[in-house]
């Protein structure tokens, strides 16, 4: 489903963010990319999502090479992929409801469905009482929960999550990780970048990154 073949990403001609990384994520996989800060985890997720273009090598999503795709095709792939950004990428002036609903609006879902789905998802992560608050007024944990809702609300085929529970308290983090596990059991391919270990890893494919290269992999 996701293939990276000898992918290298170089910034400013000299800085290697990712070096000769090859990996293959099958449909329905739960995959952890772990490693210290600066190991290249975020860059790999961005390469998969089409936010970065590889300097060398090939990235393929849903069986399609991203290099040859035009903007509209890449956008179509993004619409079927959920992404939890490390810095959340919420629209600060928008309300919680609108932030959660945006991807459903992009997909053109009916208004009634959007309302119902957003309410259910916000209630599920405990943000139902913040529906009409602006994203910029939320706490770090609340922002992260909202980012998770936005990434999952449209039942994407692939979920890419960059440090998805970094700002959550222990209980909420555990809860969200269990949600990921449930989603994965329903068939969603999930790739989580994390700088720390998680009990969930025992059910997952784990890729250890260091200095932009794969230092080890295992199940």
């Amino acid at each position: 489903m996701i293939i990276l073949d000898n992918v290298t990403k170089i910034y400013h001609d000299t800085v290697y963010a990712v070096r000769d990384v090859s990996l293959n994520v099958e449909k329905g996989d739960l995959c952890f990319i772990v490693g210290p800060s600066g190991a290249g985890k975020t860059t790999i997720l961005k390469l998969m999502f089409g936010l970065e273009r590889p300097s060398r090598g090939m990235v393929s999503m849903f069986g399609r090479k991203l290099e040859g795709l035009d903007t509209s095709s890449i956008q179509a792939i993004r619409r079927h992929t959920g992404f939890v950004f490390q810095d959340f990428k919420l629209i600060e002036d928008w309300t919680v409801f609108n932030n959660a609903a945006i991807i459903l609006e992009i997909l053109g879902k009916p208004a009634v469905y959007v309302r119902g789905r957003v309410w259910r998802m916000l209630k599920w992560v405990g943000l139902q009482h913040k529906v009409y608050e602006r994203a910029k007024d939320l706490s770090g944990g609340e922002r992260q929960r909202l980012a998770l809702v936005r990434a999952m609300i449209h039942d994407p085929d692939i979920l890419l999550a960059d440090e998805p529970v970094g700002s959550l308290d222990e209980t909420m983090a555990r809860y969200m990780m269990n949600v990921f596990l449930k989603l994965n059991k329903k068939g969603t391919t999930i790739i989580i970048a994390s700088h720390r270990g998680d009990p969930l890893m025992e059910y997952a494919k784990v890729i250890q990154m260091d200095h932009g290269s794969i230092a080890g992999a295992g199940n």
Binding site: Q75, R78, F83, K89, I106
Partner: protein, 289 residues
């Protein structure tokens, strides 16, 4: 499929973000389109001028050389008997020559040495005010009188306008083009400011996979709305002004008539084309945002 309600929501949010900017844009659109209506109207007047009766308060009837003094006296009486004529003055050729020199002013050297005898005698005829727009018919009648060689009159403002139609059309096209460019620039600036102020929103939508239509449709609709509302306001203003002129200035009634439907449609179309062009330009420039 993008839902209309959602686009409307985005537009309303944009307007709430910069209400004064939106208001000033609308006022600028209205002002520009008032000028465009005026340009349309001027062209229409110039076009109609050729079919309007000429107006003039006076005319000159030149006499044939063969007309005897007796005939000239009879002709003067005949002219005075016309209902439309208020005053008749005989102008002998020498006085006519002096008038011509006076009229030429500093350039009168061109007639130095010319024999005044080559000029005809003439009658200067002043018409009653209410017959000013019948000058053509009266001139035709007078020219048929025995002893009259030719009757000349100034065609007045309408005649001047009718004779300058092509110049007016060219001038109006240039002015209309400038107005349209100004309108497009106003919209360009407004939409550009709107896009820049919502840069983060656009960036996130782009990351989530929104296509260009989804992201930029609100801006296009906003621009179209400016054009549409501006042109409606301009048409209303023009109509009110024309109605006022029609009611209060009866002498202008031949000129003043409401804008025709095709002119209104033209103004609406030009306004929308200009607005959308301005918005498209702003969107094109913002792809790097």
């Amino acid at each position: 499929m993008i839902r209309f309600y959602y686009i409307l929501k985005l537009i309303v949010r944009g307007l709430r973000l910069r209400p004064w900017g939106s208001l000033f844009t609308l006022i600028a659109c209205w002002f520009a389109l008032c000028q465009l209506s005026f340009v349309f109207y001027i062209v229409d007047v110039a076009d109609r001028a050729s079919t309007m009766p000429s107006t003039s308060g006076s005319m000159i009837a030149y006499l044939k050389d063969s007309a005897s003094q007796t005939r000239k006296n009879e002709l003067e009486k005949q002219l005075r008997s016309f209902e439309a004529v208020s005053k008749v003055q005989f102008i002998p050729r020498q006085a006519g020559f002096e008038k011509m020199k006076q009229w030429l002013g500093p350039n009168n050297s061109v007639v130095e040495g010319v024999d005044p005898q080559i000029l005809p005698d003439a009658f200067e005829i002043t018409l009653k005010r209410e017959y000013a727009d019948k000058v053509r018919e009266i001139a035709y009648t007078l020219s048929a009188l025995s002893g009259v060689d030719d009757v000349r009159y100034r065609k007045g403002l309408i005649g001047y306008i009718a004779g300058s139609f092509s110049e007016i059309l060219i001038g109006a096209s240039v002015l209309g083009g400038i107005v349209m460019i100004c309108l497009a620039l106003v919209i360009f600036l407004s939409i550009r400011v709107g896009i820049v102020s919502r840069k983060q929103e656009i960036e996130v939508m782009n990351m989530l996979g929104a296509n260009y239509l989804f992201i930029y449709a609100p801006y296009l609709i906003e621009a179209g709305t400016y054009g549409l509302l501006g042109s409606c306001a301009a048409l209303a203003t023009t109509s009110i002004a024309l109605t006022y002129l029609h009611v209060h200035f009866t002498s202008l009634q031949a000129f003043v008539r409401p804008l025709a439907t095709y002119q209104m449609v033209g103004i609406l179309t030009f306004a929308c084309i200009s607005s959308i062009s301005g918005a498209l330009l702003a969107i094109k420039r913002s792809f790097d945002v």
